[in-house]
Symmetry: C2
Subunit: 680 residues, 2 copies
């Protein structure tokens, strides 16, 4: 491939496309691109998913849901995870392509990651994201994309796609016609920030437009978002595709155009060159009617084929062709998944009850204890083997384990002839030394439009409170006055105010992947010390939040929230204690010494926040972080370069203060005020 006589992917694409008719070209701009046998072009379906493992394509390693991976603050591990995912995707593609062409969820173009900002905890799809902070999102996204795309000089291993561009974050049931209004500050500092960061640092192959309008313009056809910002300002040189059905939304729901032909032309003219959905079948009509030029079509299709050449789809000597399907769910990938789950579990409270002694008699209670769906999250694969939380505890515990589902996850009023497990839960609790309450939500209760099993909104939450069925059960159990460890399994903030006050320990488990039960047991029994940190603020009450439809960032996320949260962003405890020594902030980086002053080995994430003491519009901003692993008693020097893009956005860098986040259970971001660079 490095031979100088070989044509570039771009040249090969141009040569190939030059032989296509207009109709053939337009058909290639739909996600389900048909074969063109006379040109040896096989059918190719562009839609594949890889959010936390190859999704919807059968057996695959299922890593923790994105929000849980973000909680690890471990970009290196995230990169390894993405490399594993792309190996599995490639291995599967190598098999699927033998059928002569590939169909949905069989290709190399992953429509992941979801780097939208988790603006409001009620958004059902928030658990697909890396949380509420742009820098965390951008850096985790970068680690994911580079892992997915690989480092071959000639070929991409798989394509990664930034989505959903832009501002997208609910409500789900309005998404096809909603107009999200955001001023330029919120747009650049929150909603677009991670897109630009990933484009600059990871060169993603693709960007997917959102369903919603932004300030009046449909995202998938927006002159400002696409032409002005993405292509010109951010210098994106990949391809833009539409969310599924979003082009038809432009006329049907947004009423910005009169028909599908106009919608298609508007989108392509603004640079959205691939369509998930059916609208682009009207492109031939649009060309004929003069809405769009054939040259624009040709350039788009050349771009798409350049992509396919760059993925090695037409080359037998692409090195990624050699990836064998033995990598799918191989031992190494399963171990990676378990490690990521361990690092992504966040210890929110601990009065010393954790870690548990394995010989304790344990009551495991709750609808999420033995549920597969809470391991998997959404956009997931099918693990050949999985370990539920209950199974993980059963494997690790040596004492008696009593289990009761306790209640339905949602329905507080079972029929008179239905099972009523409340008393069983109370009996199990009474007979045990410690009670593990496995509560929270599941990906049917919080998810995408149509994931509306919650009976209320289309996948969104109407409240931060747990469902009434669980509140009743929790009340009964707490009244027993016995030691309780609360495991909140959810992809988003839940109001844990009472739980925090009355339970001895609280763990935030997110959706921890197929190895999740083992990882939870590793944490519960102290095989591993927790080290995750919250990638979102845990608010104390519904009333603390602005309206869900309000896209102003004021009073949202740790940067702008002015009340007291229950657990702040980046909060997370450990089983050991740490101290910071010799901290030094030089305006561009923070360095110092981290000492494990406790009696247990543990990972520790050092998040660095910048604060302008004279700027009241922003509390502080995450500007860098690092994760260290220290044995008991051990210390290590660290040097954390701060993100220049973050430093730059402060109007007066010289008066900045750096804050190193939370040790020993003191909430971040206010635990340790660093001296100015000059004072050391």
């Amino acid at each position: 491939m490095n031979s100088e006589t070989k044509l570039s992917h771009r040249e090969r694409a141009k040569a190939l496309v030059s032989q296509m008719t207009l109709a053939e070209k337009c058909a290639q701009m739909k996600y389900d691109a048909p074969a063109i046998p006379r040109l040896n072009v096989p059918e190719y379906n562009w839609w594949n998913e890889a959010l936390h493992g190859v999704a919807r394509s059968g057996a695959a390693t299922v890593f923790p849901q994105a929000i849980g991976m973000a909680a690890s603050f471990d970009t290196e591990l995230m990169h390894s995870v993405a490399a594993a995912i792309s190996d599995e995707m490639r291995a599967k593609y190598n098999e699927y392509r033998k059928f002569g062409g590939t169909r949905i969820y069989q290709g190399l173009t992953a429509w992941s990651p979801n780097i939208n900002i988790f603006r409001d905890p009620r958004w059902g799809r928030g658990h697909e994201t890396y949380g509420e902070d742009p820098y965390l999102t951008g850096s985790m996204g970068t680690a994911f994309i580079t892992g997915m795309q690989g480092d071959d000089p000639d070929y991409y291993k798989t394509d990664a796609t930034l989505k959903h561009y832009a501002v997208h974050s609910g409500p789900e049931d309005l998404r096809h016609g909603f107009d999200a209004e955001a001023d330029d500050t919120d747009l650049y500092e929150t909603y677009l920030w991670a897109f630009r960061y990933c484009i600059d640092h990871a060169h993603p192959a693709a960007v997917m437009g959102a369903y919603n309008r932004v300030n009046g313009e449909p995202s998938c056809a927006s002159p400002r978002l696409l032409q002005e910002i993405l292509y010109r300002e951010f210098k994106f040189d990949g391809y833009v595709l539409s969310d599924c059905g979003a082009i038809c939304d432009i006329n049907r729901s947004h009423h910005v155009t009169a028909n599908e032909a106009e919608s298609a032309a508007l989108a392509v003219n603004n640079g959205c060159i691939l369509n998930c959905g059916d609208a682009y079948k009207w492109l031939v009509t649009a060309v004929t009617a003069g809405m769009i030029s054939e040259e624009t079509i040709t350039a788009a299709v050349e771009k798409l084929f350049e992509t396919r050449f760059r993925l090695g789809m037409f080359d037998e000597d692409c090195p990624y062709n050699a990836i064998d399907d033995q990598v799918v769910e191989c031992r190494e990938h399963l171990a990676l998944s378990r490690k990521m789950a361990q690092e992504g579990i966040v210890l929110l409270k601990n009065d010393g009850i954790l870690p548990l002694q394995p010989d304790m008699n344990i009551a495991v209670i709750g609808p999420n204890a033995d549920d597969l769906s809470v391991l998997l999250g959404n956009y997931n694969g099918t693990p050949t083997k999985h370990t539920t939380i209950l199974e993980g505890i059963l494997k690790a515990a040596t004492g008696k384990v009593r289990y009761s589902v306790g209640c339905d996850i949602l329905n507080a009023n079972p029929g008179r002839w239905d099972e009523h497990p409340l008393r069983e839960a109370v009996i199990a609790a009474q007979k045990s030394d410690v009670i593990l309450l496995c509560m929270g939500l599941n990906p049917h209760l919080e998810g995408e439009q149509a994931d509306d099993f919650n009976g209320a909104l289309s996948g969104d939450k109407s409240t931060l409170d747990l469902p009434a069925s669980q509140l009743i059960l929790i009340n009964e159990i707490l009244q027993l006055g016995k030691p309780v460890v609360f495991l909140n399994i959810s992809g988003s903030c839940i109001n844990l105010s009472r739980v925090h006050q009355e339970c001895n320990a609280v763990l935030q488990v997110f959706y921890p992947g197929a190895e999740g039960g083992d990882a939870v047991a590793d944490i519960l029994f102290g095989k591993v010390s927790p080290s995750g940190r919250l990638p979102v603020t845990f608010y104390a009450a519904d009333g603390d939040l602005p309206a869900f439809t309000d896209y102003a960032m004021k009073d949202r996320t740790y940067k702008y929230f002015r009340k007291e949260p229950l657990y702040p962003f980046a909060h997370g405890l450990s089983y050991t204690t740490f101290s910071y020594e010799n901290l030094c902030f030089d305006g561009k980086s923070v360095s110092g010494l981290l000492r494990n002053t406790g009696s247990m080995d543990s990972g520790h994430v050092i998040p660095i926040f910048l604060k302008d003491p004279e700027d009241n519009t922003v509390n502080c901003r995450l500007a860098g972080y690092a994760r260290l692993e220290l044995k008991a008693g051990e210390s290590a020097r660290f040097h954390i370069p701060l993100c220049p893009e973050i430093v730059r956005r402060f109007s007066c860098p010289e008066r900045l203060t750096a804050l190193a986040g939370g040790v020993n259970g003191i909430p971040v971001p206010l635990s340790t005020r660093l001296p100015d660079a000059g004072t050391e």
Copy 2:
């Protein structure tokens, strides 16, 4: 309790009931009997379930579904299973009663077993039964009941209930108003036979009436079924209760009475003294209106309280009070469940591919491979730990195991944006040495009215064929020409004609309980040799059957079916070979020697059929059976007493022939013709 001064249960009941008002008495005749605090009577809900483990009451050992236990032909093991179930039920009751009274699924009165005859394979609830043969049903039922009720001289451990009296066997969607017509031969030889047998041999505490009418009379209020046959002819001295809502059906659906008061009076006057449902709240009105006497009410309530006294509910010294909840899911019970599952799996075909070598590369394909619901059947408990078929294989195999769900269990037309796992299944198959197809139904697709996820009938099947989604998958896999083992997981006959022709081995797994995956792996890899036999005929096609609503037994079950079935009743192969020697039939019993002539230890069931060569109305009748366990090369004498009730029903016993069922894969019942008693 054996003190002569102590009052009998009956005397105590009379004394207690004598203090009750009419309204209090009538209220006690509903299943949800309220407390009477002034008489120290706690609330008691009569409804509990124990079909194959304590059901709907949280954690419990989940044994194989009833149809799978029947396939073991092992009454001794069945008795042990029932003793374990009643221990768990009692242990749970001992905890629940501490709340001051017990609610639904917390009591001691089990509404099990279901001894209806599995008349038609399309009936959704057939898997709750012991199959199509009255003697197998009666003997398995007897083993179950005696295990449930215990052997204390003063107390019943739990009550067992024969249901549904009588004739009940679908269609589910018509059950509330259906009139089942059966002539006296079918009534006595098929539908009522096992009821009488169990009453004679096991003294069940209770009988539950059916929803349907029988020959015009509502079962729960039938003068003929209850007064004439059950009480007078069968000399039943327990209590009769209604199916749930069945009394209101008498006026609302059967239109036999004008209102609920009349329905209630008719039922109680005919001996149905306990009501699941609400109709008996009209009993006070019925007494006032002269439809029923207070003496009848009083006698009924005395009977009900005699039952509660006999269960030890009012005694602190009842020995069963000491059963601790540590018995629930104890090691011994889990081992029993696994053993029952091993014995209940039926090897239908084997060309020698089984047992598998553990180091083979195996493709495990199908929607039932990793599904919990197919372990549990219906009327089930919640196992704390379970092993799916896939998990069992993963634990036992040492080679590479590739898994693909392959298809949806029902839907052959997934949406264009849904997952399409067919190609993945083909890839897994191509890369493996042997393919295990895990297909069949599940308890959502075949079940009770309201279990109508099959989208067609209310829990019943419209066809014996597998769903189209599975037929497509099977076709794709068979076309590969690779070795295939077919695991049919269902509670009923499926048309396996093509599967039998084209697969190398076929296993009927039924719904094998929480340990089912381990049991399947034990069989697949030869840790245990299969020894189960079919408790139902496997027909070859839908067209072989009479109309589902036709209750005449003509052309149904092995006794009356005149075409060639695919697999006959009692068919079942082994991994070893057996021979019968020195067979002797003396008119009342069969004796002989069984020799394990192969190279593997194995259980073997010897079913004995009687045939009158001159009677063409019945093919033959199962009249006895025994199960032996023989090591390779070992032999053992056996003596099987035949059921006198069966022998008696032949008009001319002296011309009877006995047939010993199937060795070495030769289908029963025609493998070995026994010499007449006199000829040896």
